[in-house]
Assembly symmetry: C2
Homo-oligomer: 195 residues x 2
């Protein structure tokens, strides 16, 4: 079994994942969110797409058996195991602007957005190429009648994980989320393992 890597609180990591490898994203303490991005390693203009994925799934809450599609409608990742069953694929990574607009911070943190920009820069990804992330463990319950939603503490417990299998050679961006609202009010690490 491969080594477990730790992403410190409010930071991010970039790494490659080969077709057929699995990525296990672990919430070591519970109630922490991890934003996941995927790009086609042979053409980084092909990126994970919430719109394509949701359209093909006909469901907002994805779990074991669901596929994550690219903007070109190719399968990038398959979810092959999931302890939690509640993740978000609606909202963009938190950013300086998120903290200014939603939290009213006067000296806002760069957020998952800034952490992903830094983590993906070695592969030539520009900030404007950062799409909606697959937000592992993020809990966004929706009122079906009004469409209103709230961001609630994750349902993940200590050691819970979600496992993805790569269906193409990928570059992955992964964070330990920087937004208090997403994480039940405290910043915690995220762990991952590649097998």
């Amino acid at each position: 079994m491969a080594d477990i890597q730790t992403i410190p609180p409010r930071s991010g990591a970039g790494f490659t994942l080969d077709r057929g490898q699995t990525l296990t994203v672990i919430d070591p303490q519970g109630r922490q969110v991890s934003d996941l991005l995927a790009f086609n390693r042979s053409d980084m203009r092909e990126a994970i797409s919430s719109g394509r994925t949701l359209d093909y799934a006909n469901r907002l809450y994805l779990t074991t058996g669901d596929m994550l599609y690219s903007n070109r409608s190719n399968v990038m990742l398959a979810i092959i195991a999931d302890d939690v069953g509640r993740h978000d694929f609606l909202l963009t990574p938190c950013s300086k602007e998120t903290f200014a607009i939603i939290y009213g911070d006067t000296d806002p943190h760069r957020g998952c957005f800034g952490n992903l920009v830094e983590a993906l820069a070695p592969w030539g990804i520009e900030p404007d190429q950062i799409p909606v992330a697959f937000n592992c463990f993020m809990n966004v319950p929706i009122d079906g009648a009004t469409g209103a939603f709230t961001v609630e503490p994750p349902l993940s417990k200590l050691g819970d994980s979600i496992v993805f299998r790569a269906e193409m050679d990928l570059v992955i961006g992964l964070t330990a989320c920087s937004a208090l609202q997403s994480n039940g009010g405290s910043f915690k690490p995220i762990q991952y393992r590649i097998d």
Copy 2:
């Protein structure tokens, strides 16, 4: 009052909209969807963002008073009037792949995606830059408990419209949607007016 332009069934249009101008999107026969995209005319890498917009609205169903944000968290368009109150901002424009995967078509239409690519090509937009569109009149009811959704006929009636005010100089892509499911089973035109 400006001339009304007609977008024929299963086609699209590209045009500019100056800051302060209004765009009225009209459903002339009722129960037809129109996919809307917006790009910053002075830097086309800045594009309409479902993820940013939904995050700031805390609501999936947008209507009068709501703002449509870019991937840089700037307001691109304000919704200033709306006869319908039900639009979708989850799903990508229908495409060749949509028709192949969802409808099983063997000779699939290029869809709103192909129509938007053609309509926006004069401004140098590449296919991979087409994001999730604001889908005027598209009716996607959601089961809050499971997150499951369906695509139902629009609630728009003959002559209903939605009006946007441009908050920056924009390039707009607009379609008369090509997907049977979105339109209650028949392909119809869309009209628009710039004032």
